[in-house]
Amino acid sequence: MLAVLLASLASGVALAADAPTVAQVKATFIVRFVQFVEWPASAFKSADDAIVIAVLGDDPLAADVEKTIASERVNGRALQLRHVTSPDDARRAHVVLVGRSEAARVPAIVAALRGAAVLSVSDVESFARQGGMIAFFAENDRIRFDINQKEAEHAGLVVNSRLLNLARIVGTEGGQ
């Protein structure tokens, strides 16, 4: 009984200490996506090859993502954050975070990334509907995300079915 009480007190303190910001949650989510997506074997040169997260353009999330990945390993691989300026540079990464600054250029970026085994994520709400793979959106004060499963499949990525279950599944609007 006392133990339960102490445990609940401790967790309460922890919650009070770092009540996560929206940015932190999104950063954590990005790392979790990595955990529940499988890349084709050809995406890595070796077994301990790092998972590269490329940031295209400017995004406020980048800083939090960098902080989060510092202590994470997925499937024994380290995570690296890299800033890129063009979608072509991003094709060599595993994940690309398309910054809010790039909202207007999404269709072009998506087209440039097509065919590469890169998981594209963006805080731009319409990203997935425009041919991206994952896009955050807010619903009832909770952070949720769209997944465009078709695009992920085209890229040769396998998204965990439970992850799909959590997501709002969307398709690319307006054709190719």
Binding site: R162, L163, L166
Partner: protein, 534 residues
């Protein structure tokens, strides 16, 4: 008397053994199987619950990773497909409940789940299982599920029902088989029992009842032993029979000597009277007046020449006719007395003849039965003892009530009464001259079918311990006695269908002997009542 298993027939016992043995082993087997089944069932239940938990754990990793409690609840809701799962909870790594499921709709996590460690435990009819939720080598949390044991109980009930049915079926088969197989054991034993009861109730040769059965087991041994026993019994029977025959011969000899003694005793009694009569006759003859007749003849011879003168003139001659007259009277008187005595003698000798001839024929049934007057027999007995009575100055009294005539062997009854009177006379006391010396003989009817002759004396009496001894062969209180008089008298009375009993109030109070004889059925036809003083 309380019930014992051993009182049952051997068939029932064998059947019961078969039944008990099979049911006992079945019970043990059933219990062992149940224990094993229970163990594997509960293990299966743990495995099943663990499988369910691990599926949920695998599914819940995403929900925990993305902090989606709704999804976690949705995953937990799949527990609904397993009705025995009562509740389940997903705890985040660190302790707080993330999502919970309750079968009965209670949303709060049941307290026991929070503290559950990894693994399973049975408690209070519940199975609680905790499993870590791990993804990519990292512990995300814990899933705890709790199941009731209803499924297990249901299975156990099913199992028990099956065992019960098997039990009943096995009991039926066991009874059937036992009933069939027990014959193999019980049949020879029953045959033995049958043979035994035949042996113990029949007189014929035992070996005819031998049980014909060849077996090498203990029952075979028993049968052989039984048959040997029968042969042994037969052998001993034959021996016994032979011994019995020898014994019969021996006892016949002994009996004959007893009879001889009896005869001598009875003859002796009569000879007493014969002796008295003889000496009386001898005395009479010795003192006979016949010599005086000789003197008269001598006187007449001397006066042969002058006989008329002598008779007419001499003093002696004149007295002669009167003398002769007196002499003749006396001789006549003498003759009369001796004739009477010889008559008594003849009667006694006749009695002796009868006694002897009766014993010579020695067929107990050979005695001539005839209708007799009881008073006549008693008077004859008194007559036979008359001399003895006179000599011992014993007064005899008769008290005869009217009784029917009876059909008996006259001489045997006479012997008994003579014996009783003779005993009464000898029982008179010689030490006290003032003591009364009297024998009373009473005849009286006893009931409607018997007559009693009671001989009562005023003699020395009989002590109470001797009252039964007096009838024993060889018992006597008399110095000159043989101890068979009363014994044979009692035997004779019994043989005639009567009794001889003795009564006495003790020493010096006299004794009473009662001879009771049945009135023969022939007497009923001639139911003529005779006078008292016949």
């Amino acid at each position: 008397m309380h019930w014992r298993f051993g009182d049952l027939s051997i068939q029932r016992q064998l059947t019961a053994f078969g039944l008990l043995a099979s049911l006992g082993s079945l019970l043990v087997a059933g219990a062992a199987l149940l224990a094993f089944e229970l163990r594997s069932l509960s293990q299966a239940m743990v495995d099943e619950l663990a499988r369910t938990a691990s599926v949920i754990a695998a599914n819940a990793t995403v929900a925990i990773s993305f902090d989606n409690a709704a999804d976690a609840r949705e995953i937990l809701a799949t527990l609904r497909t397993q009705p025995h799962v009562e509740s389940g909870c997903i705890f985040r790594f660190g302790g707080d409940a993330f999502a919970c499921y309750d079968r009965d709709g209670d949303a709060t996590a049941p307290a026991p789940l929070a503290s559950a460690a990894d693994g399973h435990q049975w408690a209070d009819g519940h199975l609680t299982l905790a499993l870590g939720i791990v993804h990519d080598g990292k512990r995300l949390g814990t899933i705890v599920v709790r199941s009731d044991t209803g499924a297990l109980h249901g299975l156990v009930r099913q199992y028990l029902a099956v065992v019960g049915l098997v039990f009943l079926a096995a009991a039926g088969v066991a009874v059937w088989l036992s009933a069939r197989l027990q014959r193999f054991l019980s049949a020879p034993i029953l045959r033995l029992v049958d043979a035994m009861s035949r042996v113990s109730t029949t007189e014929r040769r035992r070996l005819d009842d031998a049980v014909d059965l060849e077996r090498a087991d203990e029952i075979g041994l028993l049968v052989r032993g039984f048959n040997d026993m029968l042969a042994e019994i037969d052998r001993r029977d034959a021996e016994l029979h032979r011994t019995h025959q020898e014994l019969v011969v021996t006892s016949r000899h002994a009996g004959m000597s007893e009879v001889a003694t009896d005869v001598l005793h009875n003859v002796g009694n009569v000879l007493n009277s014969v002796n008295v009569s003889c000496s009386l006759v001898a005395d009479r003859l010795r003192e006979s007046k016949l010599a005086r007749l000789t003197r008269v003849v001598e006187l007449l011879r001397a006066h042969e020449s002058d006989l008329p003168t002598f008779v007419a003139e001499s003093r002696e001659g004149k007295l002669l006719p009167r003398y002769l007259q007196l002499l003749a009277d006396q001789l006549l008187d003498e003759r009369q007395t001796m004739l009477a005595e010889v008559g008594a003698l003849t009667k006694n000798i006749d009695h002796i003849k009868v006694i002897v001839s009766q014993q010579q024929s020695y067929a107990r049934t050979a005695g001539m039965r005839e209708m007799v007057t009881v008073a006549q027999i008693v008077d004859d007995a008194l007559q036979l003892n008359l001399t003895s009575l006179t000599r011992h100055k014993v007064k005899a009294e008769r008290d005869f009530a009217p009784v029917p005539r009876i059909c008996v062997d006259r001489h045997r009854v006479l012997q008994i009464v003579v014996n009783l009177v003779s005993n009464a006379i000898q029982a008179m006391r010689d030490d006290d001259p003032t003591a009364e010396r009297r024998v009373t003989i009473t005849i009286e009817p006893r009931g409607t079918d018997s007559v009693a002759i009671v001989v009562r004396d005023t003699g020395v009496g009989i002590s109470s311990e001797n009252l039964t001894n007096v009838f024993r062969h060889g018992f006597t209180t008399k110095a000159q006695g043989h101890g068979f008089g009363l014994h044979s008298a009692a035997l004779a009375a019994k043989e005639m269908g009567g009794t001889l009993t003795a009564e006495s109030d003790g020493p010096n109070t006299g004794a009473t002997f009662t001879l009771e004889l049945p009135i023969d059925d022939r007497a009923a036809i001639a139911s003529e009542t005779e006078g008292a003083a016949a």
